[in-house]
């Protein structure tokens, strides 16, 4: 069995309560950090751990913390990003639902490290049940002296609040999140300045994902060096993977980074293979924003070596033959799924969620949705396929925030790897309405797929 650092006690009855959480060793990290370490020493442990942001970008957390400006007399803020809305991702909701104190404990340790005396957990508004769970957990922690004034007699003060969003994917982008937390529309800010210099209310701010913050608890308990021993290369520690789509056992799994993708999909410890005895056609390995890969390139690198669940291995081969770890939202497509339809669905999603500030994103996502819709519904032209590639190229890199890239990559990668399926839709407009292109050659040995591009 792989080591579990975040979900070890997830099935213990009552683990959502402070009492049971403490019986299982909870709040030791708060005691240790506040009583025996300085804030800088906590930052140092997180640096040593090699922890990389679990929200999608994979930026080293300790390094991000060390960029935080510390002007005299200006408050600093820690804001937890619990906006989780990236299609395919549902690990943060799972963690907050079942083991809320893991997040609260992480928030206390991290706020202490950053010198924040007021911190917010920004939760997407639809997660009202989770908001209530967190508010109850905060009240319990406060009652027990882990929050509020003079925590555990150490002189450190911290107030922790939960902030609901209003329903907007873009508020997961950290500067849009800060705008939203200030009571405004979720329009991403132009950077610089980065939040580390001017974030919430213009003050130095760190924004971190739920899982990143929860991971500081085992890092402080066992030490950064111990944490860094798990995993592979620069992909240290464990990672929560949200598995969805046509799998025997979809759900949230904690893996040690470096696990072979094949083992993750097919072994009984994890997803248990493809549902209904079907075969794997494609995957989106890191949430809807990352490139889609055919089955063969999911399981193996272009050189035939096994692909691993790690930041490096998933992106091996660049966009020609690789993808990205992203938020760890692993979506599996069986042989009966239509790549064109799914690409259209995602394009519709990004069009709907564009905040509208930049014209390449606002207009481009709309065009991609429209063109994909006509290909899917039998009115497409051959030239539409290159038109899509062209539009995606014009969005990529030309926008204020990365949502533009996130909208462009799924379309570009679908055409890169599944062009024959798009062409079939154009050539067989009637047939494609009620039948499917099927598995085609997407699971065949990779030498074939590797030469596209």
């Amino acid at each position: 069995m792989a080591r579990k650092l975040l979900l070890e006690h997830i099935n213990v009855p009552g683990i959502n309560t402070l009492d049971v959480y403490r019986q299982k060793g909870g709040y030791r990290a708060v005691e240790k950090a506040l009583k025996t370490l300085t804030p800088d020493e906590v930052v140092e442990e997180v640096k040593k751990s090699g922890l990389r942001g679990r929200g999608g970008a994979g930026f080293p957390t300790g390094m991000k913390w060390s960029f935080l400006a510390k002007p005299e007399g200006v408050p600093r803020y820690l804001v937890c990003n619990a906006d989780e809305s990236e299609p395919g991702t549902f690990k943060d909701r799972y963690l907050m639902t079942h083991i809320p104190h893991a997040l609260i404990e992480g928030m206390i340790v991290s706020s202490f490290a950053l010198g924040a005396n007021t911190s917010y957990i920004y939760v997407r508004g639809e997660m009202m049940p989770q908001i209530r769970i967190l508010e109850r957990a905060i009240a319990e922690a406060k009652q027990a002296g882990f929050l509020g004034k003079n925590i555990l007699g150490t002189g450190y003060d911290l107030e922790l609040y939960v902030q609901p969003g209003g329903g907007a994917y873009i508020c997961g982008e950290e500067t849009a999140l800060l705008e939203s937390l200030e009571g405004k529309r979720g329009n991403p800010r132009i950077k610089p300045p980065f939040p580390a210099i001017a974030g919430l209310y213009g003050c130095p701010t760190v924004v971190n994902n739920v899982e990143s913050i929860a991971a500081t608890v085992p890092i402080i308990n066992d030490g950064g060096e111990e944490y860094a021993k798990i995993g592979i290369g620069r992909s240290t520690g464990t990672k929560l993977i949200s598995a969805s789509g046509n799998l025997v056992r979809p759900g949230v799994y904690e893996i040690e980074l470096g696990l072979p993708v094949e083992e993750f999909i097919y072994s009984d410890e994890y997803c248990g293979g493809i549902a209904n005895g079907k075969r794997l056609k494609a995957t989106v390995a890191g949430g809807s924003s990352v490139p889609v890969l055919p089955a063969n390139l999911t399981l193996k690198l272009a050189n035939g070596d096994p692909r691993l669940m790690s930041y490096e291995s998933l992106s091996e081969g660049g966009f020609a033959t690789g993808t990205m770890m992203g938020s760890g939202g692993f979506i599996a497509f069986d042989e009966d799924q239509c790549i064109v339809r799914n690409t259209w669905n995602f394009a519709r999603f990004y069009h709907h969620e564009s905040c509208g500030q930049c014209s390449p994103c606002r207009e481009g996502t709309g065009w991609m949705e429209k063109v994909l819709h006509r290909i899917e519904y039998g009115h497409g032209k051959m030239s539409d396929i290159d038109l899509l590639v062209d539009v995606s190229k014009n969005i990529e890199g030309n926008t204020i925030c990365p949502l533009g890239d996130a909208a462009a990559w799924p379309v570009a990668s679908a055409i890169r790897h599944f062009r024959d399926e798009f062409e079939w839709h154009v050539k067989e407009p009637v047939k494609s309405l009620d039948t499917n292109y099927g598995l085609a050659n997407y699971a065949e040995p990779i030498a074939k797929a590797a030469i596209t591009e």
């Binding site: 508004g125 902030q163 994917y169 009571g183 405004k184 969805s244």
Partner: protein, 170 residues
């Protein structure tokens, strides 16, 4: 300007005012505009939707311009700018849920309720709409009902019919 279909005078209840005061206390001095999103949720939970009068009242309470409230309420998907059915059934329509049958379920919902997406049933009980990924993709298809955002996972036609029956009886 926002299209307003009903013009009722709006008064906040004592309980609502108390809740709003608690919310405002979460932010530093002078940063009370941060309370806008949470307060809009509270107001909508009490009134069912956000009329222009309700939004003006929120603006007055927070001492901000009405436009600051309108632009926020119209940006986010959770705020209703026109009246909805008593139960708004929101079903996830994003990719991963579609891989496990969400689209068929939406068709079924439309047939069962007899109204199109966004419309209200004649008895005022139900409306429905597709929404984007609800962060429960491994348990799809999923559906939520505000204002409590009660959550239903692994739905099929049978479970959906049962749910609608239960709600009718309530």
């Amino acid at each position: 300007m926002l299209k307003v279909e009903e013009q009722q005078p709006v008064a906040f209840s004592a309980a609502l005012l108390e809740k709003c005061a608690e919310i405002v206390s979460r932010y530093p001095e002078g940063k009370h505009k941060s309370a806008l999103l949470p307060i809009l949720h509270e107001v909508q939970a009490e009134l069912g939707w956000l009329s222009a009068n309700a939004m003006d009242k929120v603006a007055e309470y927070l001492n901000i311009q009405p436009i600051e409230v309108y632009e926020v309420a119209s940006f986010y998907t959770m705020y209703f700018l026109k009246p909805q059915g008593k139960y708004m059934l929101e079903i996830c329509r994003t990719g991963p849920c579609c891989l496990v049958g969400a689209e068929k379920l939406m068709d079924h919902l439309e047939q069962t309720l007899g109204v199109k997406e966004g419309e209200v049933t004649p008895d005022g009980l139900f409306s429905w709409r597709g929404v984007e990924c609800l962060a429960a993709c491994g348990y799809g298809p999923v559906l939520q009902i505000g204002p409590e955002y009660t959550f239903y996972e692994n739905l099929d036609k049978q479970k959906l019919d049962d749910l609608i029956q239960d709600l009718r009886k309530k």
